[in-house]
């Protein structure tokens, strides 16, 4: 199936240069009204479409005739209720429509109306903080219409048409503008500038431009040829937004998760797949990154997953503060939600909608993180539709074009110079969860992802069962961005960063081998130097790689803390080996205090990192000397560590130790 020609044609037509409300207006019209497309688009199809009737309904597919005038991927209104659907196959005058809503109750003979436009995303100020379904309907406004349960045939515009914004123009009458140029800006959230972009396919000389408070659907500028420009515009979701140039990825997308930042970093604009069986921690990773990763904007697509997880996001995000902006995390987030019990076809569309939102903010010059949980549900929706179309099934019933579709989707991520002036650099970093059946990565969706991703964070059920979180299998995971990012880490975190990483990986590898041996001969049969490896590696797994998403102090780890934990574990290892060489017996060495101090370092908030790290260092240095043991040793060292510049012991203690320290829900989170 090809989708390029028609959507491209759609995109190029001025029909897309509609107000943000435009796409919405389509949806807003009641089914009894004339084909809603007329409000935004030239209606070539409508006359023919009026006569179209359903001839068959099966599952989420509706077949109608005559649809000779339809274009592939054109949006249609199906049945008396006006259910939203997309034309996905045309054969003579018979068209097949994938319906985004529950089709039960539809009957042959009911009318079908074409809208003249493809499925578009309404783009404009007001997206941040919103929660929409897979085709862009805001869920809270649907609730006002239909109550707590979602009925089919509901409509509501994505962007609130009654909102108003203060517009500051960036160009003046007489200026020549082209697609992608910044027309002006509004403050979307306090301190967050939303750049108003000229739609990619529009250009000309500015005739008039307004300033000050404007309503969401007002014309803010007019070109000399009469083309009106609005605060927003619509864009077909299946079509990538054009860019000026793609840039190489040479800076990391800092996640705040040690195992990723340290071992498997992802570049800004990079792509990562997170496959793992059920309960291995995909959603927690996606959500933790959405909360704490260094992104200007986060688009979170809940694709065919749980409703309660969305409730959790809605419950938690508004009260979390992004310290980089002082705003609530929700204010930088757009949620696209199509839970597993919502219609399957809309699940298929949801990831494209999310990607389009991400590209739009990228084009304004922002670093956007796109999360999708889970791409497997998207692929399954594709499979379901494909099988209803009776297409030739490929592996495990997935359509043969699964790989291409996925590849094309991942391609839309990246770091770019946006189209238009002034020059803006933006990025879409894509982290997609994958849910392989039985946790077996040989299945088609994981395999298709592996062909195109730059990073793999593989999750392992065994680790999850042991509550080793994030349950990242470091033997299988990888990052292709390592080399490109090394200079950044060296500059930001010190020249020894690459060595530390290599040393940790080596230690883990050795640990793996030794554990296999120990499984055969017993730990007692190992040499002291090998037992040290086992013990230190266990410490590394717990303190460096392990990170609880629920520990308010440790849910996000600054790079300094990450580095300190790595460096100190390795230093402990070296020190023990040196002492053994000098003749000490491993049994005799008391490393309990140092271990404990490393745990304290892990559990400490970012303000305490330096002092705690110093403390570990001292305890390591004290190993082998005849220092006072245990309790005394650590406390003494800690107090010594507290020089006037560093936090005092009092300030060190409470909030990092008290079990009642603020949880992310009631406190401010630090990124």
């Amino acid at each position: 199936m090809s989708r390029d020609r028609d959507t491209a044609a759609d995109a190029a037509s001025p029909a897309d240069a509609v107000p943000a409300r435009g796409a919405a207006a389509t949806k807003a019209s009641a089914p009894s009204e004339p084909p809603p497309a007329t409000s935004i688009a030239p209606p070539p199809a409508t006359s023919a479409a009026c006569a179209a009737r359903l001839i068959r309904i099966t599952g989420s597919l509706a077949v109608a005739r005559p649809l000779r005038e339809a274009a592939l991927y054109e949006l249609a209104r199906v049945g008396e209720q006006g259910l939203l659907g997309e034309v996905i196959r045309l054969d003579g005058d018979v068209g097949t429509i994938q319906v985004y809503e529950d089709t039960s109750g539809l009957a042959a003979g009911e009318p079908v109306a074409l809208t003249g436009s493809a499925l578009t995303a309404a783009l404009g100020p007001g997206l941040l903080g919103s929660i929409v379904d897979g085709v862009g309907r805001p869920l809270s406004r649907l609730a006002q219409e239909s109550g707590d349960f979602l009925r089919a045939g509901l409509t509501a515009p994505t962007l609130d048409p009654s909102a108003s914004w203060v517009f500051s123009p960036g160009v003046a009458p007489g200026d020549l503008v082209e697609g992608g140029d910044v027309l002006g800006e509004v403050e979307e959230r306090s301190g967050f500038t939303h750049r108003i972009l000229i739609p990619p396919d529009v250009g000309g000389r500015i005739a008039e431009i307004s300033e000050g408070e404007v309503s969401a659907d007002a014309v803010v500028a007019v070109l000399e040829d009469g083309t009106p420009l609005y605060l927003g515009h619509a864009w077909p979701v299946r079509q990538p937004r054009p860019v000026s140039r793609r840039l190489p990825s040479d800076r990391p997308f800092v996640t705040g998760q040690r195992v990723f930042d340290f071992l498997f970093p992802v570049a800004e604009g990079g792509t990562v797949a997170v496959p793992g069986g059920f309960g291995t921690g995909k959603t927690v990773i996606e959500q933790t990154l959405a909360k704490y990763a260094a992104a200007d904007v986060v688009v979170y697509v809940g694709c065919g997953e749980r409703g309660n997880e969305m409730a959790e996001v809605l419950n938690e995000f508004p009260s979390l503060i992004d310290p980089r902006t002082g705003l609530s995390i929700m204010d930088r987030t757009i949620l696209v939600v199509n839970t597993s019990n919502m219609p399957v076809a809309a699940r298929e569309a949801s990831v494209y909608l999310g990607m389009t939102y991400a590209e739009y903010y990228r084009d304004m010059g922002y670093g956007v993180a796109l999360m999708a949980d889970s791409l497997s549900r998207w692929a399954e929706a594709l499979r379901e539709l494909s099988s209803r179309l009776q297409e030739m099934p490929g592996e495990e019933g997935y359509p043969t074009y699964l790989g291409n579709r996925m590849g094309a989707f991942y391609e839309r991520a990246g770091r770019v110079i946006a189209a238009g002036r002034p020059e803006r650099t933006g990025a879409v970093t894509f982290i997609g969860a994958i849910s392989p059946p039985g946790g077996d990565f040989s299945e088609p969706v994981t395999q298709a992802a592996l062909r195109v991703i730059g990073g793999l964070w593989a999750l392992d059920a065994g680790l999850a069962h042991q509550r080793q979180f994030p349950a990242v299998d470091w033997e299988v995971s990888y990052s292709l961005y390592m080399d490109a990012l090394a200079p950044w880490f060296v500059e930001r975190c010190g020249a020894d960063w690459p060595e530390l990483r290599a040393a940790v990986l080596e230690l883990l590898q050795r640990d793996r081998e030794l554990r296999d041996i120990a499984g055969l001969v017993g730990v007692e049969a190992l040499q002291d130097t090998d037992r040290v490896v086992l013990d230190v590696a266990a410490l590394v797994r717990e303190t460096l790689l392990g990170q609880s998403a629920y520990d308010p102090n440790d849910a996000v780890s600054p790079l300094e803390k990450t580095k300190a934990l790595a460096a100190l574990s390795l230093s402990l290892h070296r020190t023990i080996l040196r002492l053994l060489e000098e003749g000490a017996a491993y049994e005799e060495l008391d490393i309990a205090a140092a271990r404990h101090a490393l745990f304290s370092l892990r559990n400490s908030g970012s303000a305490d990192v330096e002092a705690r790290a110093l403390n570990v260092e001292r305890l390591i240095a004290a190993l082998g000397t005849k220092e006072p043991e245990g309790e005394g040793a650590e406390v003494a060292a800690l107090e010594e560590a507290a020089t006037p510049e560093s936090p005092t012991p009092e300030s060190l203690a409470p909030e990092s130790l008290a079990p009642e320290s603020p949880t992310p829900e009631d406190g401010e989170a630090e990124v």
Binding site: A108, G277, P437, G438
Partner: protein, 502 residues
């Protein structure tokens, strides 16, 4: 919830030109609706069915009952004009109904308070409240390690011959609704035998459960397709009780494995392309349509909690049925054949078990401030102990290092004493305390997941009380190594006898 077209007129057709398995093909039907409910009269017998393919020329009907003996030429199809709906209401409490809602208890059919579509509409995710109310089941493996909260869907992954249903009965019997709030249990028997059903119901004779419960049965001998309806019919009632009548509803469905087999059987009859191990590709979506009906809704009193039972074929957790279930539910309680053979009841293997909503249900004001750490620590030592046990099986106990040997010893006790509580009910305080006693047999250097502050509280409390809602006043107390040998061991020993009793 919407109420569709009120009283559409039924229409009668005779145009069945083909029949194959449960499917009837007929022509000449005007405006058949997808999902429309129909009656099929043939040779003096009436069966129910549903439109699954609504075409201009051909309408395909899936018949619910056995089609044996049905003669296409002598068949009349009555189109009801509406999709499937059932009677719901408080009046159903105490009743025993079939998988389609017909009385099985000899009493007249209930009139109810409303008619609801059995394919319920999806709850708007933005209207959900995050579940977070702790449900005390009295079972340590659940309350302590895999806490259940209201509005959760938490299945029991059982195995052939394992007491999954007994555990569910245990939970139903013991899960008290605190503060005397309205509480109802809905039991859905899907494909299980009459004997198993009876076993379950007998547990409630005298406990009053039979009055505040509704039982839906589609037993092994009932038609296959009825099994697909039973959970949905029951959930329509459950949603009514929870979200309209404001009750806390606990739905037990036994056994989802039979449900899935029915789904496969019908997919095969429809000649659909089979997915993994013959189960249809849409099984995930289909199951989600059942499990996602659990929840709590903003501004409404009640809650709908589900405890489905899944018997893992061959005890294989990667089998599509438990696998897809686990991908939808908010955790799972996995039963272990090993523990069962050792006589541990309930034989819950806590390692692969999980409650994803646990964090929202525990902590200060709910269970105890240190509950999370405590559970993490129990998990960590137990996991280590289990690994050590496997290693010991190869190299002998003498090949283990000290910490491993201690962990192994811990694992044995943990299974025997903590998990294996038998039929006794333990409240959460008793569960927490027992966990502490087991942990405190170990030196503190083995217990690094417990924070210093928690130790401090525990120490000041004299080690004999759970740190319930205690606030840590002075957190400067810092215990560096925690290696305090003597006294502790004794406390633990003296605590051994204090196994909490109901």
């Amino acid at each position: 919830m919407s109420h569709h077209d009120v009283h559409p007129l039924p229409r009668i057709y005779r145009g069945v030109f083909a029949a194959a398995g449960p499917l009837l093909y007929l022509t000449g039907v005007r405006r058949a609706k997808l999902g429309e409910w129909v009656s099929v009269r043939s040779v003096g017998q009436t069966r129910r069915g549903q439109v699954i393919d609504a075409g201009e020329e051909v309408t395909v009907i899936q018949v619910l009952e056995e089609t044996l003996g049905l003669r296409p030429g002598e068949t009349e199809v009555v189109m009801s004009g509406t999709t499937a709906r059932v009677v719901v209401g408080r009046e159903l409490l105490g009743r025993i109904l079939s998988g389609t809602g017909a009385p099985l208890d000899g009493l007249p059919a209930p009139v109810g308070e409303d008619l609801r579509p059995i394919w319920g509409e999806p709850l708007n995710p933005a209207r959900r409240t995050r579940p977070g109310d702790f449900v005390e089941t009295g079972v340590s493996a659940i309350d302590g390690m895999n806490t259940l909260v209201r509005g959760q869907k938490l299945p029991v992954f059982s195995g052939p011959g394992l007491p999954g249903l007994q555990l569910a009965a245990e939970i139903v019997e013991k899960a008290r609704a605190p503060r005397g709030e309205p509480f109802a249990v809905i039991f859905v028997g899907v494909g299980i035998t009459a004997r198993e059903t009876q076993l379950f119901l007998d547990r409630f004779k005298g406990s009053g459960a039979s009055e505040w419960g509704v039982v839906y049965l589609s037993e092994a001998r009932d038609p296959t397709i009825e099994r697909l309806l039973a959970p949905r019919v029951a959930l329509a009632e459950a949603e009514f009780l929870a979200f309209d009548a404001g009750m806390h509803v606990l739905v037990v469905i036994a056994d989802m494995t039979y449900y899935c087999e029915a789904l496969r059987e019908i997919a095969t009859a429809r000649e659909e392309i089979p997915g993994r191990r013959g189960y249809p590709g849409y099984m995930y979506t289909d199951l989600a349509g059942i499990f996602e009906r659990a929840g709590v809704v903003q501004g409404r009193e009640g809650s709908l909690t589900q405890i489905p039972i899944v018997t893992m074929p061959d005890n294989d957790i990667t089998h599509p049925i438990p696998d897809l279930t686990g991908y939808i539910t908010e955790g799972q309680l996995v039963l272990s054949g090993d523990l069962h053979r050792k006589g541990v009841f309930p034989p819950v293997d806590v390692l692969p078990s999980l409650s994803r909503l646990m964090n929202a249900g525990i902590g200060p004001g709910k269970t105890a401030p240190e509950h999370r750490e405590w559970a993490n620590q129990l998990y960590a030592v137990y996991a280590r102990g289990r690994e050590a046990r496997m290693m010991a099986a190869v190299v002998g106990e003498s090949g283990l290092g000290d910490p491993d040997r201690r962990a192994m010893d811990f694992a044995d006790r943990f299974e025997r004493e903590f998990i294996g509580q038998g039929r006794a009910r333990r409240d959460i305080a008793a569960t927490l305390e027992l966990g502490w006693r087991l942990l405190e047999r170990l030196p503190r250097e083995d217990l690094l997941r417990i924070s210093d502050a928690t130790w401090a509280v525990r120490d000041t409390a004299g080690g004999d009380a759970t740190v319930r809602d205690a606030t840590v006043g002075d957190a400067t107390v810092r215990d560096a190594t925690g290696r305090d040998g003597a006294g502790r061991d004794e406390a633990a020993r003296s605590a051994e006898g204090t196994e909490a009793s109901p």
